[in-house]
């Protein structure tokens, strides 16, 4: 019974994650435009873009090699696997034993590395700029994520995301005050690794300012569709990850069918909307950080992560 419910929950979870991903990315874009008093593209445009790209011919640069062709496949496969592992509305899905936080961080790194190599393989100038920026941001963003993981694991004794969500369940993060400090580094790290928000969001269509858009500049047709889909999947996965750790309330055990699932689904929708609203608000209110300032901001995130670890240590030492 648990096996069956875990499997069904997994299937529903993956379908929702993949199905909602482009919509969520479109929603963030639309919300930001509304906040800036613009009409904005409707969220469903994201789906239609994907469909249109699927019908277009794939053109690859003459100087590119097998790496360029493999990059969208690897990046999207790693992103979708991460999406399958991060719980959304239910705990105890079939892949729950695999959902190690260090592994999820590694999958994000794999997706990013594939993107970077694909961009460098095209041999164009803008791809190189984007690749070097994305790689350099990751150097500061990854330690922030990993420090949060270490802090959580020291406090709760596991790095498994599913178990962590379960352990954080009753009182949420409020039961562990030092963890509140870990939210900021995780959010900063997430914003630096997806293409939205004030750290690495899309600033303009001008190539010198590009970050993640520069990585996909030379891809076209189905390659580009796959890449855009992967980016959207990473966005919803990061949102769900933050929700699973810092807003874990109302996630249902997989066996709690159907009432628990319905509550979990509703709660997940609310959490995604809140996070999307926060990101859109931040993006509308702030200009994107200059490239030279990002390392400083993310360095502060690392320091905050260390501080969270220190608070956990002090809390354990005093207890």
């Amino acid at each position: 019974m648990t096996l069956l419910s875990g499997l069904v929950a997994q299937a529903l979870h993956l379908a929702l994650m993949l199905g909602l991903a482009p919509g969520l990315a479109g929603f963030v874009r639309w919300l930001k435009a509304r906040l800036l008093h613009r009409a904005g593209p409707p969220p469903r445009l994201a789906y239609r873009d994907l469909l249109r790209l699927m019908r277009k011919q794939t053109v690859r640069p003459q100087s590119s090699s097998f790496v360029f062709a493999a990059a969208p496949v690897v990046a999207t496969a790693a992103s979708v696997l991460a999406a399958a592992l991060v719980p959304s509305f239910a705990r105890g899905m079939t892949t729950a034993p695999l959902a190690d936080l260090l592994l999820i961080a590694g999958l994000f790194a794999l997706a990013r590395s594939a993107l970077v190599l694909g961009a460098m393989d095209a041999g164009s100038a803008v791809g190189g700029i984007g690749a070097s920026r994305v790689a350099a941001y990751a150097v500061f963003a990854e330690p922030a994520t990993l420090l949060v993981v270490v802090t959580l694991a020291v406090l709760l004794g596991t790095t498994n995301l599913d178990q962590l969500t379960g352990l954080l369940q009753p009182g949420g993060v409020a039961a562990h005050a030092p963890l509140g400090l870990a939210l900021a580094p995780l959010v900063a790290s997430a914003l630096a690794q997806v293409g939205v928000g004030p750290i690495a969001g899309a600033a303009s269509a001008a190539e010198p300012a590009m970050l993640f858009e520069a990585l996909t500049l030379e891809h076209g047709g189905r390659d580009l569709a796959l890449l855009e889909f992967g980016a959207a999947v990473r966005l919803i996965t990061w949102f769900s990850l933050i929700a699973a750790l810092f807003l874990p309330a109302f996630t249902a055990p997989a066996a709690a069918f159907p009432l628990g699932w319905l509550i979990g689904l509703a709660a997940w929708a609310v959490k995604l909307t809140v996070l999307a609203g926060a990101v859109a608000l931040a993006e509308a209110a702030m200009a994107r950080l200059g490239v030279a300032r990002v390392p400083g901001v993310l360095g502060a995130a690392i320091v905050l992560g260390l501080l969270a670890a220190a608070l956990v240590a002090l809390g354990e030492g005093l207890a």
């Binding site: 019908r55 011919q57 794939t58 053109v59 690859r60 640069p61 003459q62 100087s63 790496v67 360029f68 969208p72 496949v73 690897v74 496969a77 790693a78 696997l81 892949t95 034993p97 695999l98 190690d100 260090l102 592994l103 590694g106 999958l107 790194a109 794999l110 590395s113 970077v116 190599l117 460098m120 393989d121 041999g123 164009s124 100038a125 803008v126 791809g127 190189g128 690749a131 920026r133 350099a136 990751a138 150097v139 990854e142 330690p143 990993l146 270490v150 694991a153 020291v154 498994n160 178990q163 500049l217 030379e218 047709g221 390659d223 796959l226 690392i302 670890a309 220190a310 240590a313 354990e316």
Partner: protein, 731 residues
């Protein structure tokens, strides 16, 4: 006189004790050690025959111009000479493969530790060789890498390679201090010989050789002396007053107070200097850069794991019975800094081999973190934590060996095929050298800790060990280990960028020089060797649990609880009852998803694909005299690392950029120069220079010393000698 007579008596008593031990050993342990030990003289014999043959082939022809002829002869060797060299290489590869198979069988059989006394020199003297799980594990790495290096080496004379491998094998098989130090010193000497040998096998660009080999042999000899000092300090005295240097008796001693600190510091210095542990790493990049290709492969892929073996043997086996908690924490922090420095340098360096050497320095730092956590586990009496960290160290040793060898072989292939080893002259190799690119990609992904590769499994274990260690100690320990975790995370992230830059700038994109555009994959043997190594790396990544099961005897040899159910076919776990990291399942899921994406992309495509000029931000197509586009519009080695160089590099490595622009009308080229200074060089080399100056000033003062003063000096020396003798007599 009585004292002088004693040395003859000691080895006899040694032998009596040893015979007693041998009777206790289980019978199934006996065949492995002698068989492995026989490979060492076998390699030396092949080396001697090969050296004699090479000398004979060269000698009568032009005895006076031997040195000059040396360079060309490797390439234009006559047919019998080439056949002879080929036979010698086949013999060496066979011996190495036999050794690797023996080591594998020994790990599978897991016999009790054995030791063997080799009579050598005067009657009664001898070396003690020993074999346990730890030496088995590392001799497996050593022989596997050596077989790969010698098999793919086509031009160079194999004699120095064989001698080097023999010295390394002696180091790993050593069962007493004499054999260990002898092995290390022989490693230094033969390694120095390797660096001198065979410039014909080198790439077309002459390597910067100045100062590299003296630095190598100096560090290696000093390191061996440090190891000797640590062992002598540890050794219990025999009844004769001489120290008993056998490992078995070293294990029983427990030094305390200052002698304990001295032993640990000397051991760390001795083994760390050969392993390239920061701040003793300065010799490694120039040495790896100056050595011929296959010597570099052996130095990085075989010598560094052997140095790690020495580190593990000294710190965890001989001197590591019960060090205080702080020592482990300090080691973890030192390892974190070492990994960070190595990774940061590898992001900035542009010479392929220097870059790989810096990645090796990072890996040594990671192993040092693991050793620190093992010591913390022992001090806090958490045996499961110690075994977790030891598992990380053993996996890192394996990946260090195989992946360094793979990447250096790929770098060698690039040097031969593309004619340069500088990143800013490479590029576009993926189309001309697809096999080398694929192998370099696998190797770089492995070292960059990409799931589900081999490096990720080791990094995962290391993080779990650090988390467990933080839970073990008090507030201060926990804070220090959180900092170590931050350093580790930063080093891993930098290592990923270094790997991306290595592959992205070196192999992908457009060619940056016409020579690179005509690059070619190496010959079939080299290609196959690289493919085998890459396959092995993938297998390690998929079944790290099985390998750690295989390494069970190594855990036993270091008196650590084996991983048990935490290392299985399915994957690795930090706690027996918790889920962990399951690489097989992850790899299967990734492959399945990638297959779906590929089908979506390729099979159901109604329009088809085509190639066209790159969009490149809408710039016009390059003129016809630039068939690969303008090389300057492509991001290069220096520009890719600019952000990291200006932020972390400027603080840690004092990275500076000098731009020399030219006025309009000047025809000379503008220059962009990046300089870095290793922080270890700043104080270590400065200290050495100051010491040398001081010494020379003292010696200089003796120059005007009057001849008439000589008798007084002699008298003083005599008096000092008598005083020493009197003091010893009183004791």
């Amino acid at each position: 006189m009585g004292r002088a007579a004693r040395p003859v008596a000691i080895p006899g008593s040694n032998r009596a004790q040893h015979d007693h031990r041998r009777r206790q050993a289980t019978p199934d342990a006996i065949p492995f050690l002698p068989a492995l030990a026989l490979i060492v003289p076998g390699l030396l014999a092949v080396a001697a025959v090969e050296a004699a043959r090479a000398g004979f082939a060269r000698g009568p022809a032009a005895p006076g111009r031997a040195a000059n002829a040396d360079r060309g002869r490797g390439a234009r060797a006559s047919r019998p000479a080439a056949n002879g060299a080929r036979r010698a290489r086949i013999a060496i590869v066979t011996l190495c493969l036999a050794g690797a198979a023996l080591a594998l069988a020994c790990l599978l059989a897991a016999p009790a530790p054995a030791s063997l006394r080799v009579p050598l020199g005067e009657p009664g003297f001898g070396l003690v060789l020993a074999l346990d799980g730890l030496s088995c594990w590392f001799i497996l790495i050593l022989f596997a890498v050596a077989a790969a290096a010698v098999a793919s080496c086509s031009e160079a004379s194999a004699a120095p390679l064989a001698a080097f491998v023999a010295a390394l094998a002696l180091t790993v098989l050593a069962g007493d201090g004499v054999a260990l130090v002898l092995g290390l010193e022989l490693t230094a000497v033969t390694g120095w010989g390797l660096m001198q040998a065979d410039t014909a096998a080198d790439g077309p660009e002459p390597a910067p050789r100045a100062g590299a080999s003296p630095a190598f042999i100096g560090m290696a000899v000093l390191g061996a002396l440090g190891v000797l000092g640590a062992i002598v300090l540890l050794a219990p005295a025999l009844p004769s007053g001489f120290p008993d240097l056998r490992f078995a008796s070293l294990r029983g001693t427990a030094p305390a107070g200052w002698s304990e600190i001295a032993v640990l510091a000397l051991a760390l210095f001795g083994a760390g200097s050969l392993a390239g542990l920061v701040p003793l790493h300065l010799w490694l990049p120039p040495s790896l850069s100056a050595a011929p290709v296959h010597a570099g492969v052996l130095m990085a892929g075989a010598m560094l794991p052997v140095a790690l073996y020495t580190l593990l043997r000294l710190l965890l086996d001989l001197a590591g019975s019960a060090p205080p908690l702080g020592w482990g924490v300090a080691l973890a922090m030192l390892g974190g800094f070492a990994a960070l420095l190595g990774a940061l340098r590898s992001v900035i360096e542009t010479d392929l081999r220097v870059l790989l050497a810096c990645i090796a320095i990072e890996q040594t730092g990671l192993v040092t973190i693991a050793i620190g956590v093992v010591l913390i586990g022992r001090a806090a009496d958490l045996t499961s934590l110690a075994s977790l960290a030891l598992g990380a160290a053993l996996l890192l040793g394996l990946t260090q060996g195989l992946l360094s060898a793979l990447l250096l072989l790929a770098a060698g292939a690039v040097e031969q095929g593309a004619g340069t080893r500088h990143l800013h002259r490479l590029g576009g190799l993926a189309q001309r050298m697809p096999m080398t690119t694929l192998c370099a990609l696998v190797g770089a992904a492995g070292l960059a800790a990409m799931p589900p590769g081999p490096g990720f499994a080791a990094a995962w274990l290391l993080f779990q060990a650090l988390i467990g260690a933080a839970r073990a100690g008090g507030v201060a320990t926990q804070l220090a280990l959180a900092a170590a975790a931050a350093l580790l995370a930063l080093a891993l992230a930098l290592g990923t960028v270094a790997a991306l830059r290595l592959v992205g700038v070196g192999f992908l994109g457009r060619p940056r020089t016409p020579r690179t555009a005509a690059a070619e994959d190496p010959g079939s043997v080299s290609r196959r060797v690289m493919l085998v190594l890459a396959t092995l790396a993938l297998i390690i990544g998929l079944v790290p649990g099985l390998l750690l099961r295989l390494a069970g005897p190594a855990f036993a040899a270091l008196r650590t609880e084996p991983m048990g159910v935490r290392a299985a076919l399915a994957g690795l776990r930090a706690h027996p009852e918790q889920p962990g990291y399951a690489p097989l399942a992850i790899a299967a899921l990734l492959a399945g998803l990638a297959a779906i994406a590929f089908v979506l992309l390729r099979r159901a495509d109604p329009v088809g694909q085509q190639r066209g000029p790159a969009w490149d931000g809408g710039f016009a197509a390059p003129p016809p005299w630039l068939p690969f586009g303008d090389p300057l519009t492509q991001y290069g080695a220096a520009s890719f690392s600019q952000i990291l160089r200006r932020t972390i590099g400027a603080r840690l490595l004092a990275a500076r950029e000098t731009v020399t622009t030219k006025l309009p009308g000047e025809t000379s080229a503008a220059r962009f120069l990046v300089t870095t200074r290793d922080p270890a060089a700043a104080w270590l080399l400065a200290a050495i220079a100051a010491a040398r100056l001081w010494l020379w000033q003292r010696i200089d003062r003796l120059r005007p010393f009057p001849l008439g003063g000589a008798p007084a000096l002699t008298l003083a020396a005599l008096a000092a000698l008598l005083a020493v003798l009197a003091w010893r007599g009183l004791r």
